[in-house]
Symmetry: C2
Subunit: 219 residues, 2 copies
């Protein structure tokens, strides 16, 4: 019984990996860099994406795939409001996006001239870690109010990522956040991974993140 | 194929509901009130529990079940540090607790004289909503830094709850949090549900929450 369950999960993950690889080939064939952004609810995924669009859209053509568990278009409306192509994927209560959802989303997009697709995953520190979407880079956005112990409590999400944004640093004076303890936790899981302290509210720290991103985009 | 999957999920949920009901009977037979606390990572579940212990332990014998996805005892150590019985359930990467985990935890606890068991669920706004644990009350802790739009984006978690704590109100001067918009979202999902604005850091607002809790405890 347990064994049967495990087999089903393995089949699902294998199927996902294959579709993810097809997505990656599709992106490559179209000269698109794809980014998968994961975070807790409220860490500031959409705010970081909006600030990134503000700073990069004069040189890079971007599009966004918004993952949501509920059929509300709050985030998608914000992206659309800054003249950026966006589609929303409703996961129907599911706790993560998967590669098939991305594939189904891609066929609904007009991808001519797009250089960068940012995928905003479902707000969750657990489930998204297990599902490759076919993105070239996986990024986690942490935030100061969540606390400095998150790498120790939710380790899997930090293991495979290519960089980490630590958002809401403008709140630093009002919180007890031990940056060294946080960094030590990340370093143990993912040695050498780049951490960018930022504030999507004030724009602080975005220059380093934007430089990193520019270095990843095929042009 | 899809139908098969749906059936399996239904079987799991039915089995869970039955065990949850058995847990509830067990709690009743032992004169224990059980509370299931759900929240995002970093909303302040453990801090709220610690403050509740500080304010209630002189009159109520409490115990805590700590749910974690990783085998670290950060939160359990904090509870143990204030002389409160605690056991930790490691969900092995799973995104929620279930009724069977609680049952397996209960047999490891010394329950003599305990009046209140607080279950700290896995930090997640999606998965825990689907699994009845057998608690008498389900509570969500939201927090100001997460943003006022969470009821609209993660509706399921707010539907079945008995009350909501809105934590970190000490950060209110530094955030753009529209309380009326948040309340409107909660009210639409769960009419009349009680909302307690609190700060686990300063203790503000805890008097109302403690009164509510006292009214629920069998003595």
């Amino acid at each position: 019984m347990v064994r049967e369950k495990v087999q089903i999960v393995e089949n699902i993950l294998n199927a996902n990996d294959q579709i993810a690889e097809e997505n990656r080939v599709f992106f490559d064939n179209h000269g698109i860099t794809a980014l998968n952004i994961m975070a807790s609810p409220g860490a500031g995924k959409t705010s970081v994406i909006l600030k990134t669009i503000e700073l990069l859209s004069h040189e890079i053509r971007m599009a966004v795939i918004e993952g949501d568990t509920a059929p509300v278009t709050i985030d998608a409306d914000k992206i659309s409001g800054v003249n950026t192509p966006v589609i929303q994927i409703n996961s129907s209560g599911n706790c993560h996006l998967d590669a098939l959802m991305i594939r189904n989303g891609l066929v609904q997009m007009y991808l001519q001239d797009i250089n960068l697709i940012i995928i905003e995953n479902i707000g969750n520190l657990i489930c998204p870690a297990a599902f490759d979407l076919g993105a070239h880079s996986n990024v986690v956005i942490a935030s100061l109010p969540e606390g400095d112990d998150k790498p120790y409590k939710y380790p899997n999400i930090y293991r495979g990522i290519d960089c980490l944004l630590l958002n809401k640093i403008d709140l630093e004076p009002y919180l007890d956040f031990d940056l060294a303890y946080f960094q030590k936790g990340i370093e143990a899981l993912n040695p050498g991974v780049k951490i960018f302290p930022v504030s999507a509210k004030t724009g602080e720290g975005f220059d380093s993140w934007i430089s990193w991103l520019q270095g990843r985009i095929k042009t």
